[in-house]
Amino acid sequence: MIGLTHFLILAAILFVCGLLTVLTKRHAIGILMGVELMLNAANINLVAFNHYSAGDRLDGQVFALFVIVIAAAEAAVALAIFLNFYNNFGSVDVERANELRG
């Protein structure tokens, strides 16, 4: 029987995949992808919790929808930043974005 724990484990695996992607990638788009993975891991948690503990209320699903919308907006903003970044540096390598280092 598949319970809540299985979903949480899946979400955790997905989150860690996203986190590792963010930590290891130097390509900005890759990092954005990792972030999407982490957001989706959170979405799975939201929907799973709603399903197993909230009865017939749809709070979790609605919240997940919000997250998806925000993720779309965030992708738009991030892509705009990358475009600008590319214009200035000729690449989208985040290692080079270190002008504000202490």
Binding site: L19, V22, L23, T24, I31, V94, E95, A97, N98, E99, L100, R101, G102
Partner: protein, 731 residues
């Protein structure tokens, strides 16, 4: 008639305007024009002075307080500086700017304007080609202005101011050829010697201000004549003041202790010597003595008399041995000024002023003649290089001879009358002193001028013979010698004056005598004064107004009318007889001896000088009695010693002290630098370093690498959640 004030203002302002014009625009005017401007103004001044003279004698105002010849002085004043209170009524005292004009002023102004005009005319040719031609005329005009200002001065303060101004002009003109070291040195010497005298003058004046609160001449005369001084000061104090004041005159008139500047002043251009150092400026000292005569006590006059007699001897003797034409003339000027000073001393006020005026004419004549000679000899002054010049310059020779005769006191020449008057008065004074059984030495007051009356024609003849007679001693110079008409004309004019100035119909004598009368009238017109007691000239000898002898119809002289004469007048009359007896033929004796000795040039004197004592005497006189060397030794030497001492103190006392202070300061500075470095800077630096270190630590956390940020964020998150979980589980 013309307005007197306007004429006086014109007389003073004209030369000033000319001088200012030449000073400002002198460089734009080319050579002859600046000379013509100066000369034109000088001639104009002379014209104005004649008008003034005529106005003074025939114009004038009548009435009790009127001014004019034989009537009274013209005076006016402006209160200038209030100086406290000076009398019982608590009247505020003032130093006044005042004008005091009497016959003496007028005739002196005429004389100055005349000599100035003649000298200007002479300078036109004499200074031709000089690089500073306009400047020369500028200074001459400035001098005329200062001299006029001096003559109208009505207070000692003003007299002092103009004394300094004429001194300045004298300085500028002596050092006119400033490229010559001798001229510069002579200018400075003249200035310094005059300052020495002026110190006395200033101190005397300050004493008068202190005691009386006024130095205006009429005030002084009134106070002293009325005996108002008796309560304020002792007679000794008054004597001291008189002596101090006369020091100013001694400096200006080159009298005994301060006479050494005048021979050196001959380094200036010769027209300057004629105008300033013969006729006018040096006479200003005697003029001062004449002005303060009423306040001179008998003791002060005795002092002046001694100085005058000494100066006569120095001047007359040194003139005998000078090898420089102009220096010999300078010493003769000193001698003649000595006559005037002695005359003041014996109370011959009229004689001194009379001699001053006649001397101005014949001495400036002699100097201009010398200028003519020097000009043609290419500025060689040495008598050794002259000789035989009469054939080349007859006009100069004749006029020089006239000057010589006038100065020697040959009959019917101007010098005859003035010198005779002085000797007569000196004789009267000596006579009186003898009767009062005062020191027998005082008889020298008569014998010194008498001796000088023999010496004067001697040295003047020497000059004439060595210059104009004999064989020319310097062929090359002689060949080109000659005289120009332009330069001879002034000589002729002056020699006319040298002849006629002494005659009684000439206005000089009457003007001088009128001065006394005017002053007496002025004093007498003052209220609350006893005119008998208050006579400011009560110690002066009278001149004889009518001839001493009259001739009866059959041609025999009658006895002098003793009955009509006062004892004083009889004494003067006896003095005239003595003068006739002692010096009547002095001029001829002197000239004959002079011709005998110097006709063959230096031959006789050189042979005489081989006899040891005579040679020493000649050496002594030629070196001007070693006064310059003495002053060098005493004053310059003392100054050098004082300087050495001062340098020693400076070097060994003040310098080390200063150095020590400086060293201490340096040490202190170094210590304070260390403290600064260690303590103050350390604190500041420590603060900075700490912040720097902190910043370094902080920047470790800001490496600029996104993965580190993300990893640390995740790490912290894990830590927080882990902690929460652990805490939650253990609870």
């Amino acid at each position: 008639m013309f307005e007197l004030p306007i004429l006086l203002i014109l007389l003073i302002a004209l030369p000033l305007v000319a001088s200012a014009l030449l000073l400002v625009l002198g460089r734009r005017f080319d050579e002859p024009f600046s000379g013509y401007l100066g000369t034109g103004v000088a001639m104009l001044s002379f014209g104005v002075s004649i008008l003034t003279l005529v106005t003074w004698i025939y114009g004038g105002s009548t009435g009790g307080q009127g001014w004019g010849h034989d009537r009274g002085p013209y005076l006016d004043f402006i209160r200038w500086i209030p100086i406290g209170y000076y009398d019982a009524q608590r009247t505020p005292g003032y130093l006044a700017l005042s004008v005091y004009v009497d016959s003496l002023t007028i005739i002196m102004m005429t004389m100055v304007a005349f000599v100035s005009a003649v000298v200007h005319l002479f300078s036109l040719a004499y200074m031709k080609g000089d690089t500073r031609y306009p400047q020369f005329f500028c200074y001459l005009s400035l001098f005329s202005f200062c001299m006029m200002g001096l003559l109208v001065s009505g207070s000692l303060l003003q007299l002092l101011i103009f004394f300094e101004l004429v001194g300045l002009c004298s300085y500028l003109l002596i050092g006119f050829w400033r490229e010559r070291p001798a001229a510069s040195a002579a200018a400075i010497k003249a200035f310094v010697m005059n300052r020495v005298g002026d110190v006395g003058f200033i101190v005397g004046m300050c004493l008068l201000i202190g005691y009386f609160g006024s130095v205006t001449l009429p005030d002084l005369w009134l106070m002293l004549a009325s005996g108002a001084h008796a309560g304020v000061m002792s007679t000794t104090m008054l004597t001291v003041i008189g002596v101090l004041l006369s020091f100013g005159a001694f400096g200006k008139s080159a009298q005994f202790p301060l006479h050494t500047w005048l021979p050196d002043a001959m380094a200036g251009p010769t027209p300057v010597s004629a105008l300033i150092h013969a006729a006018t400026m040096v006479a200003a000292g005697v003029f001062l003595l004449a002005r303060i005569y009423p306040i001179l006590t008998p003791d002060a006059r005795l002092f002046i008399l001694i100085i005058g007699a000494t100066t006569i001897l120095i001047g007359s003797l040194c003139a005998l041995a000078q090898r420089d034409l102009k220096k010999a003339l300078a010493f003769s000027t000193i001698g003649q000024l000595g006559y005037m000073v002695l005359a003041i001393g014996v109370g011959s006020w009229t004689g001194a002023m009379f001699h001053l005026l006649t001397h101005a004419f014949f001495k400036s004549l002699l100097f201009l003649c010398a200028g003519n000679v020097i000009h043609t000899m290419h500025h060689d002054h040495r008598l050794e290089h002259f000789g035989g010049l009469f054939r080349r310059m007859p006009v100069t020779g004749v006029t020089f001879a006239i000057g010589t005769l006038a100065m020697s006191g040959a009959p019917f020449m101007s010098g005859f009358y003035s010198k005779e008057m002085i000797i007569a008065h000196a004789s009267a004074w000596a006579n009186l002193a003898g009767e009062q059984h005062r020191a027998a030495l005082l008889q020298l007051a008569l014998w010194v001028p008498v001796a000088a009356a023999y010496l004067t024609p001697l040295y003047m003849t020497r000059l004439w013979m060595l210059t104009f007679a004999g064989r020319p001693r310097k062929r090359k110079l002689y060949k080109h010698a000659g005289e120009a008409g332009v330069m001879s004309f002034p000589l002729v004019v002056l020699s006319g004056m040298a002849i006629f100035a002494g005659f009684s119909w000439f206005p000089i004598q009457s003007m001088v005598e009128g001065t006394i009368k005017e002053t007496r009238n002025y004093i007498a017109s003052m209220p609350h004064l006893d005119p008998g007691r208050a006579d400011p000239f009560k110690t002066a000898w009278p001149t004889l107004s009518s001839p001493t002898e009259t001739v009866t119809e059959n041609g025999e002289p009658t006895e002098p009318r003793d009955v009509l004469r006062s004892p004083v007048e009889r004494r003067v009359e006896a003095g005239y007889h003595t003068a006739h007896l002692l010096t009547g033929w002095a001029w001829l004796a002197g000239i004959m001896v002079g011709v005998a000795i110097w006709a063959p040039g230096f031959a006789v004197t050189d042979r005489l000088a081989k006899i040891a004592p005579l040679g020493w005497v000649r050496q002594f006189l030629a070196h001007r009695m070693y006064f310059d060397d003495l002053y060098d030794l005493v004053f310059v030497g003392a100054t050098h010693i004082a300087t050495g001492v001062a340098v020693g103190i400076d070097r060994f006392l003040i310098d080390p002290a200063l150095d020590g202070v400086a060293r201490l300061t340096a040490l202190f500075g170094k210590a304070s630098a260390k403290i600064d470095d260690a303590a103050v800077d350390g604190v500041v630096r420590g603060v900075g370093q700490t912040i720097w270190l902190g910043g370094g630590a902080m920047r470790l956390a800001q490496p600029g690498r996104i993965r580190v940020y993300v990893a640390s964020a995740v790490g912290i998150l894990v830590l927080v959640i882990g902690t929460m979980v652990v805490v939650g589980l253990t609870r």
